[in-house]
């Protein structure tokens, strides 16, 4: 272990503790803190974006929800500097919301009704806040002006469903990951794909079904590492696989680290972030009830933190002050064959409790 890593470990090795659970009656694909830290936004399967006030410890929900979407709101992404959040849905809509002044009848600043033909799987904002990238199951990657939603680029060279997009921290390029685990690098100046990263181990054809893919894309702070995560699939149908993170050397394109973070029933790394203190934070969801949150350093053989009390972790978001982590999961007992009724005799749906974890305050260096 080098001195830098030793220092980082000494500086910050958190053991998060549960702080609060935001109970609700909806299912969410993701819950994310705004860069200002004042709000927590959640992308709902009810076609709405929900908000909580996260400026204090109360986490009161802010009404009304942001509407206008169809199907599911798949994800939200933020401008790092301005109070703008972008939401995408499974029917192809992209909307920008200026969340500092939404009022009682919130309207988007702009929307692109058919940004994609169907399911937009991912949205990302460039570091300078000027561009918004989207990827979808129409196999297209598109880049939009953050100012007015006009289309700036369209990349159609990937033959498979696009599952993730992410901007490189230098803002000059964009990566898109697909169902086969292929990650393409798009140069924004030339509009060309200049390289690709092969994460094909995260894919398997099982009978008729293409299983797995690049479910997460993220970078470390200086952009020297590209993380691609998902599962090493065992089978389709009731998908089983080993939750896996690949860390690519950005310059060389080779895999520097492979982290297997569970057993076959744990299945997907659904969300991933690289903490500035030198470890990955992975939200993992597999068989109902088996999710976990894992923190692991790249050179270590084991995770230094594994939290299994949250069932089916689908997303994670670190508060900008570093003290809070929001994890969207699923209620316990979410599965079962046949008709399950609640105490009132109504058909019982599931929901996504959002667990707020308290991290030890990082030591400033």
């Amino acid at each position: 272990m080098n001195d830098d890593l030793t220092t980082l470990k000494e500086q910050f090795t958190p053991k998060p503790k549960p702080f609060k659970v935001l109970e609700n009656k909806r299912e969410f694909g993701a819950a994310r803190f705004s860069p200002c830290g004042k709000f927590l936004f959640a992308a709902g399967y009810d076609g709405q974006v929900h908000r909580w006030d996260s400026s204090g410890d109360e986490f009161n929900e802010v009404a009304p929800a942001l509407g206008g979407h169809n199907g599911w709101v798949q994800d939200v992404a933020f401008d790092a500097a301005a109070p703008a959040v972008y939401s995408v849905d499974t029917w192809g809509r992209l909307s920008r919301w200026d969340y500092a002044a939404l009022g009682e009848q919130p309207l988007p600043k702009w929307s692109v009704e058919a940004a994609h033909d169907g399911w937009i799987t991912s949205v990302a904002v460039s570091p300078d806040g000027q561009l918004v990238a989207t990827g979808g199951l129409d196999r297209a990657v598109r880049v939009w002006s953050a100012i007015d939603g006009t289309k700036r680029h369209e990349f159609l060279a990937q033959p498979d469903d696009i599952l993730q997009v992410a901007f490189h921290p230098d803002g000059k390029s964009l990566v898109s990951g697909d169902l086969k685990g292929i990650v393409k690098l798009w140069d924004l100046a030339s509009g060309q794909s200049t390289r690709q990263f092969d994460a094909g181990v995260l894919y398997k054809l099982d009978r008729l079904q293409d299983v797995g893919g690049a479910r997460c894309l993220t970078f470390n702070a200086d952009g020297s590492l590209l993380f691609v995560a998902g599962t090493k699939p065992v089978n389709g149908g009731n998908v089983q696989g080993i939750p896996t993170v690949l860390a690519f050397d950005w310059a060389g394109g080779t895999v520097k680290h492979t982290l297997e973070l569970g057993q076959a029933g744990d299945v997907y790394v659904c969300d991933l972030r690289f903490h500035t203190a030198g470890f990955v934070m992975a939200a993992i969801s597999g068989n109902p009830g088996t999710g976990k949150l894992v923190f692991r350093r790249l050179d270590d053989k084991e995770a230094f933190f594994t939290h299994t009390a949250i069932a089916n972790c689908h997303s994670l978001s670190l508060h900008p002050n570093g003290n809070r982590l929001a994890v969207a999961g699923t209620n316990g007992g979410s599965n079962g064959n046949g008709k399950v009724l609640d105490k009132d005799g109504e058909y019982k749906g599931n929901w996504s409790p959002i667990t707020i974890l308290d991290l030890s305050k990082p030591t400033s260096s």
């Binding site: 299912e27 399967y45 009810d46 076609g47 169809n70 199907g71 599911w72 798949q74 499974t90 029917w91 169907g118 399911w119 199951l137 469903d161 169902l179 099982d206 009978r207 008729l208 079904q209 293409d210 299983v211 893919g213 389709g236 149908g237 009731n238 998908v239 089983q240 299945v267 997907y268 969801s285 597999g286 068989n287 109902p288 009830g289 999710g291 069932a311 089916n312 689908h314 999961g329 699923t330 209620n331 979410s334 599965n335 079962g336 064959n337 046949g338 008709k339 399950v340 058909y347 019982k348 749906g349 599931n350």
Partner: protein, 428 residues
Amino acid sequence: MTHDSLCTPIDHRVSRRELLGGMSCLAATAFGAGALTGLADEAPKIKDKQVLFVWIDGGMSQLESWDPKPNTPFGGPFRPIATSVPGVQVSELMPHTAKQMQHLVVLRNMATKDNSHSAGVPRIQRGDPKNRGVTYPFFGSAVAKLLGPGSSKLPPYVWIKPGNGGFIHADGGFLGPQYGALAFGDGKPPENILRNPTVTEDDDAIRNQLRETANKRYAAGRRPEVNEANSYVYEMARKLMQRQDLFDTASFDPKDVERYGTHEFGRHMLQARKMLEAGVRFVKVNSYGWDTHGDNFIGHRNLMPKFDQGFAAMIEDLAARGMLDNVLVIAMSEFGRTPRINGHIGRDHWPEAWSLVMSGCGMKKGVVVGKTNAKGTDVDGEGYDIGHLFHTWFQALGIKSDKIEYDNHGQPLPIAHDEMFSVKEALA
């Protein structure tokens, strides 16, 4: 002693002599005197009926296929799309099938009992009759028994499936092993089916005489069903020797291969069309891997277009050839999938309110039968069980399911659930 398993009509059992010598009179063999009460006029039509049974093993989601519920709590992420029938929508995952809706009957109010595969698969395919202490035949075996192989003399019940093939005698139930399914693993013919070129025809004939002698000795003292099944399978294999074209996928039109899809399901559906064109009475095609307890939506996004491609191409081709007049097409699973979405972003087993689709022989065209409630959590009104569907399918094939009975060694048994009835809204 005979073991005639039908009260009426008479046995359709195919003997070796009939196969090798050629049937001089199909009607006399298949619809013998004294066994046609109430059916004589229908016999010529019945012999031409065929069935394509598409089995989606594991459970296709009705919400991601035939019964979309957009923008409802359990509706999922996909959009509905219009079809060729005004007012009827299906999931966006079936754009090709949507264009063939004018040929289809979509039944949206299936309400069955079993929510496990192990019970559901056989009970659905056996029609879930009342328990009378016997194992009922699968639908394919029932049709093989009731209608026989037809003029093609080809095996009456073939199954094109992924994985291994073989003779699946268990499908025959109490009808006996000879009514089982001849399964072609990955559509390939049985191994060693062709006469080795080093064996001359004369030598082959001598060899067959020797085999027949050995068979007779083997049969002595054994239950006749055992020998009949052995002989039946052998003879069916010999018939197949003459139809190698059915397995020569290299000879298939490349345009068809592209239209049906180069994936497993597409290949098998195209081969099924060849089987139907050759006159096989009952062709089952099945696809595995639909038990999407996890990652249901990306899974269906991936699976459905392959089903859509092969199924739509089949319907289009059968319609274009005029074959839908005689071929009954059924596509279904053992159940649907739960409206609620579990933590693995999957849907579980759901027999309560699901859908299947039918087309062709005896069926209406461009019709939706039944409905579910707004959230898709229950049938709106009365639902239909599989027993109703067996009656419907038999009726569509010209078989009076309320009058004909099996004769299981003297025990009369209804061919479909005797307290159920056909779905009249689906029948032409």
